[in-house]
Amino acid sequence: MSDAVTNLEELKKLAPPVELQRAPVIEGNKGLGWLTDKLSVFAEGKTPLWWWILFLPAAFSATVIFPVCLFYQVFTGVGVWGNNHPVMWGLDIVNFIWWVGVAHAGTLISALLFLTKQHWRTTIGRMAEAMTVFSVMMAGLYPAIHVGRAWFDWFMFPIPNSNGLWPQFKSPLMWDVFAVNTYLVVSSLFWFMGMIPDFGVFRDRATTRVRKAIFSILAMGWTGSARQWHHYEKAYVVLCGLCTLLVFTVSSIVGLDFCTSQIAGWHATIFPLYFVIGAVFCGFGMMMVLLVPLRKWCGLENVITLSHMDKVAKLALVAGLVIDYIYAMEFFIAWYSGDTYERWVFGHRLFGHTYLYLGWTLIGINVCVTQLLWFKKIRSSMKALFIIGLLINIGMWCERFVIVVGSLYQEFLPANWGKYMPTIWDIGLYIGTLGAFFMLYLLFVKFLPVIAIQEVKGVMPEGDPHHPLGGAKKGGQS
């Protein structure tokens, strides 16, 4: 160790000036052993009070409110929701798109930023993947019960049956079934594969027999040999590439559900892109909401540094600016098309009745509040980021509502006009899914490796065999 320190001093002389240096991935680094302790101690230690305070309401919501609303709806029918002619897609679809959206930023952070070799992603990648997996679970539930007769869901899968019927593959709604299921499976695999070496770390650190047994099974005999790493890295790159494709595919297909219809306000080619960017924007909001408290309470402030939060905020700003551009384009095209119905729908989003508050909320948040992220002072204030993240989620939820309901409630014929108000069961189910999401997330934070230990080690100076701390100059060059 002493050699390494003297080498570090030598290195400092050769290093570029301070303002040109990159922020270290981990602050206050004290070596690989320290890092291993730091990253696994939360899952091994005593459960803190804050965890219980958050977990109990989430668990109540997930295990009481959620099943009650779910079973009542399934046993009674879709009528318990506010959905009725002409608004047949209500909160169920709004929440479906919203949850899929939350998922997307997770995959973007973990997969796309891996392919572009952003080292800072190693610290938040695992948390982002977990967010993806759990929110896709919540998203997938909605279409399954939205069909009304959930026990016929298997009709959506190409299974030979006694009716001699097959799914109709020309419909994007059918593609959605494949897209969401694939997203769930692939993001879970990606999440699990990333954790295998870290399960090995937990297994090797285990002090009790039960822990040892559980993590031995999960690690599946991982030893970390060079041959294993060789194949592992290849598989990881392949999975990252495939997951990146999914970021751009799943929400595009959800967008296609809308734009292939004839409804004014939906029938636009911009929709697939619109939904992808909106999804990513919303997901970055959720990422901020999750990261700000967790980095503090789990003692990870040196790991998920201010510089990482700054980068997340910048990405959110970029996504927000693209969204703003799309809003402008949408309104412009509605006006420029000269289509009476298009103009009517878009005019009513902001100057109509019933839903104009939601329209202005989304403009206020997604267009105005997002601009605060230009300022470094805001980006380095964790409280501000938390609040902005929360607001982005609300803004995007309003946007989904305005798109879905705002286009349906006044369509072509005035005879078809109506209003939609969510009922208590709509709202209860949403609260239930939020509870289930946070319950799963808190369980993940407490019991699984929340930071990709091996990935973080790999980007440390100690991890590079040609860096002085990695040992190359120590008697090398034989």
Binding site: K170, P197, G200, D204, G221, V238, G471
Partner: protein
Amino acid sequence: MSKNEAPKIYGLMAEFNTPGDLLRAAEKVRAEGYNRWDVFTPFPIHGMDKLMGLKNSLVGWVALAGGAFMFLNIAGLIWFANAFDYPLMVGGKPMFSAPMTFVPSYIMLIMGGALGALIGMLGINQLPRLHHPLLAKKRFALASRDKFIMVIGAEDEKFCATETKQLLESLGGANVDIVEEIA
């Protein structure tokens, strides 16, 4: 260290403190003519696969095979379901055409590729396995922490419990120890 009635030897393990040390030791071990050896590290070490002469991993091909298999299967299924077994006319569109087939097939290509990558990785690495001789060694647990461990297998033609041990020690390996084969 004489080992007569003792259990069969799996190999010799030695610890190194930095990836650089390990890389240099690996170079020497390779130059000595050993070919049944492996290193165990907390994270992948760049340059090690080249040094060990590992060829491009087959995992990519397994993933490609999985993806292609799924793609063709779903495309075939769509043809069978919507054009052959129960021809379904929707909006005057052709019974079977690329735009309707591509999206679901492509989505399932991703599924097949991902399954192929994971299963391929586990299969080629011969995982899951319940036990490994190295996992019985107490100090081996440090290989997932901050030590870089090299193991020279007893199967190697050049392996000799004493000479190999001397070699590992001369390379700077600490705590050189014999790993027993599990019965």
